[in-house]
């Protein structure tokens, strides 16, 4: 589905991502974990075309999209649910969903919104509310639903559980699992490494803009270095 080859992305002189390579196979969930400032969001924004690529290649289904405009990438199926949700606070829930389907034939969008409201009932109930008046968890649902409205081939999720109460975190991961079981290809960025690894097939650990470790998610869950750094020390063991 996605292949990233020696990707370098910089803010001015500062290279936030350096020679990064990874792959996401069709139908799989791949996680990027890493400490704050590792370059995870930078990577996703480069994939979405919000940031220019300094060097390297992005291939989607074998096709080079490295220099493609951000709007066309959405048509190609790369859809990002950004960090901090970024719902359009001054527009209604319904309008946010409509704009999720912005690049699709408008005749299909109406029916899909109905389906989305069935799947996330709270969005139906609050249809005419301004998105900014929703709670954090509701906004995250809206952000995910809005992303799904674009019919993503590859869904990029940037810290979807950030800042949510434990119960809502469970809910978000339940949604991710459900999407995975329906065959949705996902590239997930999470600080909640334990849960992220539990829903993923494969994972990359990033530090300072580079991959320092990669492997099947189960393997990383039992990797001593990963446990020490990202999963915390299980109590009662030395």
């Amino acid at each position: 589905m996605l292949e990233v080859v020696d990707l370098t992305v910089a803010y001015g002189p500062v290279e936030a991502v350096r020679d990064l390579s990874f792959k996401v196979r069709k139908g799989s969930v791949v996680t990027l974990i890493g400490p704050n400032g590792a370059g995870k969001t930078t990577t996703l924004n480069a994939l979405s075309g919000l940031l220019p690529v300094r060097d390297g290649k992005i291939l989607l289904r074998g096709r080079d999209i490295t220099r493609m405009g951000s709007h066309r990438r959405v048509s190609e199926g790369i859809v990002q649910v950004p960090e901090g949700r970024q719902v359009l606070a001054g527009m209604t829930v319904h309008e946010n969903l409509e704009l999720g389907g912005y690049r699709r034939p408008q005749a299909e969008v109406g029916a899909d919104i109905a389906r989305m409201e069935e799947r996330f009932p709270i969005l139906g109930e609050r249809r005419h509310a301004l998105a900014g008046t929703l709670s954090g968890g509701e906004q995250q649902m809206l952000a995910i639903a809005r992303g799904l409205m674009a019919l993503p081939r590859l869904l990029l999720l940037d810290e979807p559980s950030l800042g949510l109460a434990p119960k809502l975190v469970q809910e978000i991961f339940r949604i991710v699992r459900e999407l995975r079981d329906n065959g949705q290809t996902i590239l997930l960025v999470e600080q909640n490494a334990r849960q992220a690894l539990a829903v993923s097939n494969y994972a990359y650990v990033m530090e300072s803009g580079k991959v320092v470790l990669e492997g099947p998610a189960e393997d990383l869950r039992s990797d001593p270095a990963v446990i020490r750094t990202y999963l915390g020390q299980p109590t009662g063991r030395s």
Binding site: Q86, E98, L99, Y102, A150
Partner: protein, 296 residues
């Protein structure tokens, strides 16, 4: 009493033109957070081009008006492309945009001087058939009615476009959060260009109506409305469409009432600006604040 009623009606007519001008002005501000100081120059060129179409090309006003409005819209596209697009990704684009819009204003004004000369000109006498009605002692002309209806049509049209259409919602999305808009697949540069087209078309339309109403056009007519337009959009809340409409009407009314009360036109601008000054002190976000546009 009748004099007062007459003044109120006059204020309404001129206020609708101010409102139309201000709506275009505030639209660009709402989307880009940039004050487009070339807007008054486009207002002027809209009026002058319509005049030229009537006088030089012998268009009827009904053909000249839409053609000149379209022309003004195209000027907006050029303006965006030259003054704003190249610096859009820069961190200081608000300030540098202000400067480059001043440069474009000077360019447009010079073009107007070169093409039309420095004198005041007017539409030929038979441009519009002007019927005059007396209603309860108040004089209303068909031209006034046509002006106010045209202005209202544009303002309502824009409001509905923003509220209901796909492109209108895209404009509001870009206004609120252009990064999020890009992630939704919105071609942000194209939406901004279209916003300039709409804004400038409305500015040009206001220029034509203004020229018809006062029966006078000149290459520096933008000067007289520049500060008023700014006052109106501050009054209504920067970026707010309904605010600009109401602000325009309020400003028109204040102007004529001042003339009516003091019996001279000397104080007209002074009082209007005093009011503006008071609003900036007591309610700096204007009547409606700036979120209103996004909620349309």
């Amino acid at each position: 009493m009748e004099l007062l009623a007459q003044q109120l009606i006059n204020g309404l007519f001129i206020g609708s033109v101010y409102g139309l001008f201000a709506v275009g002005y505030t639209l660009v501000f709402g989307v880009l957070d940039i004050l487009n100081l070339a807007h008054p120059a486009i207002f002027t060129l809209g009026g002058l081009v319509a005049l030229w179409l009537v006088e030089g090309a012998h268009f009827s006003i009904w053909a000249a008006f839409p053609s000149a409005v379209l022309f003004a819209g195209l000027l907006g596209l050029i303006l965006d492309r030259i003054a704003f697009f190249p610096i859009r990704r820069r961190a200081d684009s608000n300030f540098s945009g202000l400067i480059s819009s001043i440069a474009m204003a000077i360019l447009f004004e010079s073009a107007a001087f070169a093409l039309f000369g420095a004198r005041t000109v007017r539409f030929p006498a038979n441009t519009v058939t002007n019927r005059v009605w007396q209603v309860a002692g108040v004089t209303i002309t068909s031209l006034q009615v046509e002006i106010v209806l045209t202005a209202i049509l544009f303002m309502v049209g824009l409001t509905q476009l923003l509220k209901r259409t796909r492109v209108g919602k895209a404009i509001r999305a870009v206004a609120e959060n252009d990064r999020a808009a890009r992630l939704l697949g919105i071609h942000v540069d194209r939406i901004i260009a279209f916003t300039f087209f709409l804004s400038s078309a409305m500015g040009g339309a206001a220029g034509i109506l203004f020229g018809l109403y006062f029966d006078a056009l000149s290459p520096d007519m933008g000067r007289s409305i520049e500060i008023k337009g700014l006052a109106v959009i501050i009054l209504g809340g920067m970026g707010s469409i309904p605010g600009a409409i109401l602000g325009g009407l309020a400003f028109g009314l204040t102007e004529v009432l001042t003339v009516a009360i003091t019996g001279t036109s000397n104080l007209r601008d002074a009082v209007a600006f005093t009011m503006l000054f008071a609003i900036l002190i007591f309610r700096p976000s204007g009547f409606l604040g700036r979120r209103s546009m996004r909620e349309a």
